[in-house]
């Protein structure tokens, strides 16, 4: 069932800001309904979303933790606390217990803030913000580090990384600060710019409509950073199933260029076929690069996204 609260209804925008909400959080994006959903997530997460965002969390490094990984011979200088005394008692040999090093993983949310993302009902950017907030919330709850970057123009503007579940409102504020660009957006350049700011490996979540001629390059480059890449491909219902007909001049929201087209059922069928092929092209590319590709419609309820769709795609554990 479609979640009504996802839509930014005029009534919702007109509502007063909840008293607990910091001033830098956009109440139109993160309205009361959304916050209630987050709350519900918190409750539900205890059992089903125990793992939080997976991906690169298990480090190959051995280190301090409670999870046993391996044994190795004792070498001079090792911490005696790590000796396996039971083995020593039985075999009279010195072994050191190795534990899995639990890395401090950073989850980068790359939000495409190009002009095309501002279109749609609900707008793709709005959906992207809410999805990022929900996933970020889960990340924060799993003690992951969360970083949010808005891609607009030719630059990726990175906000400070956050950590700890108490930083939810900071996360919301950071997402609120991202606005759709007015002019043209060069997604490749913006992604490169953002990639340069990445430190170490982590998880990159790209939320974009990929309506860029070089979108495949973006996926390739991000996959090449070594971080695990999750592509959430957002398209609005109007793009998936256009309800237009007749002789029209289609105007590009970013470039302002027009395409004259006579739209009838055959054209629409053709369009849908191409759209499907286009998305499959991304899916194939992502599969080759060991990235995860999820095609989403922006009319999908958030709860379904988090609890069903992303889990089905093994994005969430």
């Amino acid at each position: 069932m479609r979640d009504q609260t996802l839509e930014t209804t005029p009534a919702a925008t007109g509502r007063e800001r909840p008293a607990f909400l910091p001033t830098d959080v956009d109440p139109t994006v993160f309205d009361e309904g959304f916050l209630r959903q987050l709350e519900r997530l918190q409750v539900l997460m205890k059992a089903p979303v125990r793992g939080g965002l997976k991906g690169g969390r298990r480090s190959v490094k051995r280190g301090q933790s409670v999870e046993f990984a391996d044994f190795r011979d004792y070498a001079l200088g090792d911490d005696l606390r790590l000796l396996d005394w039971n083995v020593l008692a039985r075999l009279e040999k010195l072994f050191i217990k190795l534990y899995v090093e639990e890395e401090d993983v950073t989850i980068h949310f790359l939000l495409d803030a190009s002009a095309s993302m501002g279109i749609g009902t609900p707008s793709k950017l709005l959906f992207a913000k809410r999805a990022a907030a929900a996933l970020g919330y889960i990340g924060l709850a799993s003690e992951d580090r969360i970083a949010v970057t808005g891609l607009a123009g030719r630059a990726g503007r990175r906000q400070v990384a956050l950590r700890g579940s108490g930083r939810v409102f900071r996360l919301l504020a950071a997402l609120s600060g991202i606005q759709a660009a007015d002019g043209q957006t060069d997604l490749v350049a913006a992604v490169r710019h953002a990639g340069a700011q990445l430190k170490g490996r982590g998880v990159i979540v790209l939320l974009s409509d990929l309506l860029d001629p070089a979108a495949d390059k973006v996926i390739r480059e991000l996959a090449a950073t070594g971080s695990e890449l999750i592509v959430l491909h957002l398209l609005s219902p109007e793009e998936l199933d256009p309800q237009i007909e007749g002789d029209l001049r289609l105007v590009d929201s970013e470039t302002g260029d027009g395409v004259d087209v006579t739209i009838d059922l055959a054209t629409l069928d053709d369009y849908k076929r191409r759209l499907e092929a286009w998305r499959e092209g991304f899916a194939d590319l992502a599969a080759k690069r060991r990235a995860t590709y999820v095609a989403l419609s922006t009319d999908m309820p958030l709860a379904e996204l988090v609890f069903a769709e992303l889990r089905r795609r093994r994005v969430l554990g």
């Binding site: 002009a115 095309s116 993302m117 279109i119 749609g120 793709k124 409509d209 309506l211 860029d212 001629p213 609005s236 109007e238 793009e239 256009p242 237009i244 007909e245 007749g246 002789d247 029209l248 001049r249 289609l250 105007v251 590009d252 929201s253 970013e254 470039t255 260029d257 027009g258 395409v259 004259d260 087209v261 006579t262 009838d264 059922l265 055959a266 054209t267 053709d270 369009y271 191409r274 759209l275 286009w278």
Partner: protein, 708 residues
């Protein structure tokens, strides 16, 4: 393919107009999409395999162009030519006699005949002219020499069966005269050939008969009469039924209705073929004023028209006649035997206001004319001197009787061929009168007419001065004459032949008569001259009972309608004082005369066994009357010379019709508008489907989805 209106092909100029509209049209509505990325590729691909795609997109344009071309073609009226089967001038004679109402072919013979005519007229050459004659009791030209087949069709559609006996000979003669206007003419006769009277006149043009009808089973009421029965209390009804079939008819029944109420039903025995059966019903109560007979039961016959008949019960009222005479036994005897009359007598010397002449319906003056004429109808016999009734200019001795008109109603059944007259007054025919019996040197022996609102007649000789009283003709003449002068029994009590005119009395003071026909429609009849005593009604085509109601300008005071009992002639010495009339002398007119404002009724019945006989006649006999194709008209056979022969450019020398184009065989043109219109409709349908193909595809998909 030739065209009737090739100029309409200019409509093809609209083709570039449609193209121009397509070129100028596309002002596309802008629609903002997030990105045109996908659309651009789509458009690029569409243009890559352009020819077919472009064609598909412009399918609507192509269809519209095709539509324009087709409409231009349609407006240009394309046609095909073929040899015509008819002459350039066709005279159609449509039999509308009563037998054409027979339903042996559905719906009836007339309708089938009309269809046959339409079918035959398809072979009419282009610009061929058609005249249509409806042959009822009289021939009537419905359409005269038109090339407009629509008008012909409308006119033929409007022709209805007349209930009258048909006269095909009259119609054929008229057709012959109409056909004589052009060189090549043909007469088409649509009839059942069941003719009451067979035409015999030769015709100058080929005749083709379109015969309709099949069966011959018909039984008809051919007579219906009402008479007082011997008891005088009731009436007897006499019905005669004829079986005109060649097989016996079983189970038929005669029903008698009095004023719409069933009085008597009588089963008829087996009706032998070609025989009559008489039924006499006594004890019909006096109250009924209209008797209707219906032939019902058994298997219904093909002609319903003659299964009903009506009769008016004659009124019981007595008419009073005053004879002012010194005594004439012949006259008195003849008058005494008149039905429903009372005769009074008075001597000329005693005649005066005291006689109350206003109480009488007819006053007969014999050898005497008073100074002032009474208001009642007057018959003067041998007036001794000039008076308003006529100028006496002398005396005729042994006058001969001139030629008599056979149509004169007063002379019906009167044979005067052996009558000799000794002496008569020589009279001059006044302007108001018509001659009934002409005499020598244009001095009439008997004339009647209307003088100052009263009926009047003058007989120029005393009956006893001739041998007329010794002949059978005398009582009949007197009955007819007094009947005409009394007039008042108003309407004919005998049945009227359909189509015959009826003379209806107009009461004094009435401005007009309203005649209600059996179908409920009414006709206003105003007298031709003010003060006339009667009007003629001729719309008697329909069978049934007609009612004539007089309309008065001002309400009629009932007191003036007749003498009241107190002033009645019982006190007067008038009638009783007369010694001479033996009968009626003691009777006193106690009965008030009929209310003159009362409606008058008469019945129209077919009563014609010849017309009721619906057995098909011989079409070949009628065709034989016409000229055989190829045979030249016999010289002198046609009394009306054709305009071509006389060299006078007549109106019939119209272009394209037979007169001018005898050499070239006439052709008929079949316009091709039906296939073109069908094609236009088909193209329109295809265009609609193309325009709505998306909606249709969606419907189909959803239907398929629902089924799956």
């Amino acid at each position: 393919m030739p065209f009737l209106a090739p100029l309409a092909l200019l409509g093809l100029l609209l083709v570039p107009a449609v193209l121009a509209m397509y070129l100028l049209k596309l002002r596309r509505d802008p629609h903002v999409v997030p990105s045109t990325l996908l659309w651009q590729r789509l458009v690029a691909d569409v243009e890559a395999n352009a020819p077919w795609q472009r064609l598909r997109r412009s399918l609507l344009l192509l269809l519209q162009l095709l539509l324009v071309v087709l409409l231009a073609l349609l407006a240009a009226r394309p046609f095909l030519e073929r040899p015509a089967g008819l002459a350039g001038d066709v005279v159609v004679v449509l039999d509308t006699s009563a037998s054409m109402a027979a339903t042996d072919v559905g719906p009836n013979r007339l309708q089938v005949a009309k269809e046959r005519i339409y079918e035959a007229l398809r072979d009419l050459p282009s610009n061929g002219r058609v005249s249509v004659i409806a042959a009822g009791r009289t021939a009537r030209v419905v359409v005269n020499g038109t090339t407009d087949l629509g008008r012909v069709r409308a006119a033929i559609d409007g022709v209805a069966v007349s209930a009258a006996t048909g006269d095909l000979a009259d119609a054929l003669n008229l057709a012959n005269a109409l056909a004589a206007r052009s060189g090549s003419a043909e007469i088409l006769v649509a009839t059942d050939a069941a003719l009451a009277s067979k035409p015999t006149a030769r015709l100058d043009h080929p005749v083709r008969v379109l015969q309709v009808g099949r069966a011959r089973n018909n039984q008809a009421i051919i007579a219906l009469a009402v008479r007082p029965s011997s008891s005088g209390v009731t009436r007897s009804v006499f019905v005669s039924v004829a079986n005109l079939d060649i097989e016996a008819a079983e189970g038929r029944r005669i029903e008698l209705y009095g004023d719409g109420i069933l009085l008597e039903a009588r089963d008829l025995q087996t009706l032998d073929p070609q025989t009559r059966t008489e039924v006499i019903v006594d004890d019909v109560p006096l109250g009924a004023s209209v008797i209707e007979a219906r032939l019902t039961g058994g298997s219904p016959d093909a002609l319903e028209l003659d299964d009903r008949a009506w009769a008016i019960v004659p009124p019981d009222r007595l008419r009073r006649i005053l004879l002012v005479s010194d005594g004439d036994p012949y006259l008195e005897t003849a008058l005494t035997y008149l039905p429903s009359t009372e005769l009074y007598g008075v001597k000329p010397a005693d005649f005066g206001p005291a006689t109350h002449p206003e109480l009488f319906d007819l006053i007969i003056f014999e050898g005497f004319v008073p100074q002032e004429l009474p208001a009642a109808a007057v018959l003067a016999i041998a007036p001794p001197e000039s008076s308003p009734l006529g100028e006496v200019v002398g005396t005729l001795t042994d006058p001969g009787i001139g030629s008599l008109s056979p149509d004169e109603p007063i002379l019906r059944y009167v044979d005067l061929s052996t009558t000799h007259i000794g002496r008569a007054s020589k009279l001059v025919l006044p302007a108001w009168a018509r001659t009934v019996i002409p005499g020598p040197q244009s001095s009439p022996l008997l004339y009647v007419g209307e003088l100052e609102g009263r009926r009047a007649g003058v007989l120029s000789f005393l009956p006893r001065d001739s041998d007329l009283p010794l002949q059978v003709a005398f009582p009949i003449l007197m009955a007819n004459l007094t009947g005409e002068l009394l007039g008042g029994s108003a309407a004919p009590t005998a049945a009227v032949v359909p189509g015959d005119p009826v003379t209806l009395p107009l009461p004094a003071g009435a401005t007009k008569l309203v005649v209600t026909r059996p179908d409920g429609s009414s006709v206003d009849l105003a007298p031709a001259t003010p003060g006339a005593g009667s009007v003629v009604f001729s719309l008697t085509e329909e069978l049934g009972v007609y009612t004539a109601t007089p309309v008065f300008a001002s309400p009629v005071p009932t007191a003036s309608a007749g003498p009241t009992a107190s002033t009645g002639p019982t006190a007067s010495a008038g009638p009783t004082a007369s010694p001479s009339p033996a009968t009626g002398a003691s009777a006193t007119p106690t009965q008030a005369p009929l209310d003159p404002a009362a409606p008058v009724r008469f019945a129209v019945d077919l009563f014609d066994p010849a017309e009721s006989n619906i057995a098909l006649g011989s079409a070949a006999e009628i065709e034989a009357l016409g000229r055989r194709p190829g045979q030249s008209p016999s010289p002198g056979a046609s009394p009306t010379p054709t305009p071509e022969a006389t060299g006078v450019p007549g109106p019939s020398a119209s272009p394209g019709s037979g007169g001018a184009g005898v050499d070239t065989p006439p052709v008929t043109r079949d316009e091709l508008w039906i296939p073109v219109v069908l094609l236009v409709l088909a193209v329109l349908l295809v265009e609609w489907l193309v325009y709505h193909r998306d909606a249709v595809t969606r419907l189909w998909r959803s239907a398929r989805g629902a089924r799956a």
